[in-house]
């Protein structure tokens, strides 16, 4: 193959993002006989720390050191990448809050094809790549064909590829800083505002009654709270519940909310979008209740019940209360 593969590696405080090893795996699937070159941008000792961690997955690392890149600003990173990337490159990045900022515009400036949030792909053919994505909130998958004659920008779903360590561990860094040119942006980073703590810390509970859009209205939060009180847990939720202002942001589980590691996770009226599932760690017992038998949550749950949560939750609460009354006698 002629196209050279690159993986853009985000990092923070000198630690590379988990996607580094997933992107290496995706590159291996595209071409089992080749490796991607890591591209990493930043400034100072943190950048060098991050580089040294990449030897485990990448035989070659291109580093772009520039004070303007100390905080990853997608507009500046794009400018820097465009200065150093060879024509017709295949660039891999993660479909996260930075990849969403960077990748679509990068593909336009490269005049290359763009496919985002890829969950699987097949080995490269002469001028094309065959990839798999999900649509309609994960309810259906699609095979996508992408013409790579002019290069491609591909973003992969976080957690979608099994991480691999394929490098020798030795670190070979090529300094591309000079090629990146002068960097000024029309969008300027000011500060990061850390999320407020909220009244309940859902990360500390071993049983979560987690509610989604199936709750239908704010008043029904009480039904979930009753169940959580009876069972001895806390109420958490998926994104639509926060968007609708039924619960505080601090209750949200997912990539843009909290990461939780409970023992039991009752997903009540939650469809199971990938961004939500990304927040559930530690392999809890996942019980899903949803009236839509096609809800993607049933693909990942241990136990599923096709029922209306507004009727099932009260039934569960009543039964627990009954058991507790009997036990108390």
């Amino acid at each position: 193959m002629t196209a050279r593969m690159f993986a853009y590696i985000p990092h923070k405080d000198g630690i590379v993002d988990d996607c580094a090893f997933e992107l290496a795996a995706a590159a291996r699937k595209i071409d089992p006989s080749a490796s991607a070159t890591a591209i990493i941008t930043g400034w100072g000792a943190e950048l060098d720390d991050a580089c040294s961690a990449l030897g485990a997955a990448y035989p070659e690392i291109w580093k772009i050191a520039n004070e303007a890149l100390a905080y990853p600003n997608a507009e500046l990173v794009r400018k820097a990448l465009l200065q150093v990337l060879p024509e017709k490159s295949i660039v891999l990045a993660s479909h996260d809050h930075f990849g969403i900022d960077l990748a679509p515009g990068l593909s336009i400036k490269m005049n290359a094809a763009f496919v985002s949030d890829v969950v699987d792909l097949a080995a490269i053919e002469s001028t094309g790549l065959n990839l798999v994505r999900q649509e309609f909130g994960g309810q259906v998958s699609a095979h996508v064909r992408c013409d790579i004659a002019a290069g491609a920008v591909i973003t992969t779903r976080p957690g979608g590829f099994k991480a691999v360590e394929i490098g020798s561990g030795s670190v070979f860094v090529v300094d591309k800083s000079v090629g990146a040119g002068v960097l000024t942006a029309r969008r300027r980073y000011l500060e990061t505002v850390v999320a407020e703590a909220g009244d309940v810390d859902i990360t500390k509970h071993s049983v979560l009654v987690s509610v989604g859009r199936g709750l239908q209205e704010k008043e029904n939060v009480a039904i979930a709270q009753d169940l959580a009180d009876a069972i001895g847990g806390a109420v958490s939720c998926s994104r639509p519940v926060v968007d609708a202002k039924w619960l505080e942001k601090s209750r949200q589980v997912g990539s843009s909310g909290k990461t939780v590691k409970p023992k039991v996770y009752l997903a009540c009226g939650i469809s199971g979008a990938s961004q939500h599932l990304a927040g559930i760690k530690g392999s809890p017992l996942l019980i899903a209740i949803n009236k839509n038998p096609k809800a993607p949550i049933f693909q990942v749950a241990d136990v599923g019940i096709v029922d209306d949560v507004l009727e099932f939750m009260p039934a569960l609460t009543n039964k627990v209360r009954e058991m507790r009354t009997v036990a108390a006698k």
Partner: protein
């Protein structure tokens, strides 16, 4: 401030079970409930609130067909001053870059200070806003969850990043922002409101009006195309309980107790 909001009419995934047609070439579109893409609706609300604060106009536009006029009227009933349908046979089969190219040509015909899109639509690609900005060579920010107008040249915005944290940025106008759900509370639209805008003319722009070259959009220009749809493999999938509600309740409590819950 002149604001353009790019919107899309999509099957409502919260109201529909999505099924495939027998050939797997598309989803089964008969009997689907369509609505405005959720993030786009938040974008329109945000535009209306900005206009209410600093003045100006909000225009909604969609690339689509005649059926898509209904979402333009819905958003006009919310308060958008005008709606535009961007439609041409030549646009069909466009990939994300094709849609962005079509929108670019429309933007260049106007004088917009701010262009909003929803962060993503039903295909979850989250691509058109960033592509449109790059084509226009405007600055861009994705996943925007608050906007403050600083002056006629600058906005202060926040982006939703990991862990519920917010990344604060200053961005120069004109710019393109992709709007995350939850940024605002979209106002209710009643049938009466929709009736009030039912006869407002909605202009249509096609290939000729936009001065586009047929080869730059549509299927022939697309580098990316969907081959087919298929149902995701279930993996091991959930053990579905088929009992009565009472039986299911008992089983769930057994399982929870076995995991050390219910103490």
């Amino acid at each position: 401030m002149e604001i353009l909001v790019c919107v899309r009419r999509v099957p409502d995934t919260s109201e529909n079970e999505i099924q495939l047609n027998s050939a797997g070439s598309d989803i089964e579109r008969d009997d689907l409930i369509y609505s405005i893409n959720e993030a786009d609706n938040y974008a329109v609300e945000e535009a209306l609130q900005i206009v209410a604060r600093v003045g100006g106009d909000a225009t909604v536009a969609t690339v689509g067909g005649e059926d898509d006029e209904e979402v333009l009227r819905r958003e006009m009933a919310m308060g958008a001053q005008s709606g535009v349908l961007i439609s041409d046979e030549a646009f069909s089969g466009s990939d994300g870059s094709g849609i962005a190219t079509i929108l670019e040509s429309f933007v260049r015909k106007g004088n917009y200070d701010l262009i909003l899109t929803g962060v993503q639509a039903e295909d979850g690609a989250a691509q058109v806003g960033g592509m449109l900005a790059a084509l226009l060579d405007y600055p861009f920010a994705s996943l925007v969850n608050s906007i403050e107008v600083v002056d006629g040249k600058t906005l202060k915005i926040s982006r939703e990043i990991a862990g519920g944290n917010k990344e604060m940025n200053e961005i120069d106008l004109p710019c393109v922002l992709s709007i995350q759900t939850g940024i605002s509370e979209p106002r209710y639209v009643g049938m009466r409101g929709i009736r009030q805008v039912a006869s407002v003319p909605i202009p249509t722009y096609g290939l000729v009006e936009l001065g586009l070259d047929a080869g730059s959009v549509g299927e022939s220009a697309a580098k990316v195309r969907r081959v087919d749809y298929f149902l995701p493999e279930l993996g091991k999938g959930a053990e579905i309980l088929h009992g009565t509600r009472e039986e299911n309740v008992d089983r769930v409590l057994e399982l929870v107790a076995a995991k050390g819950g219910l103490k």
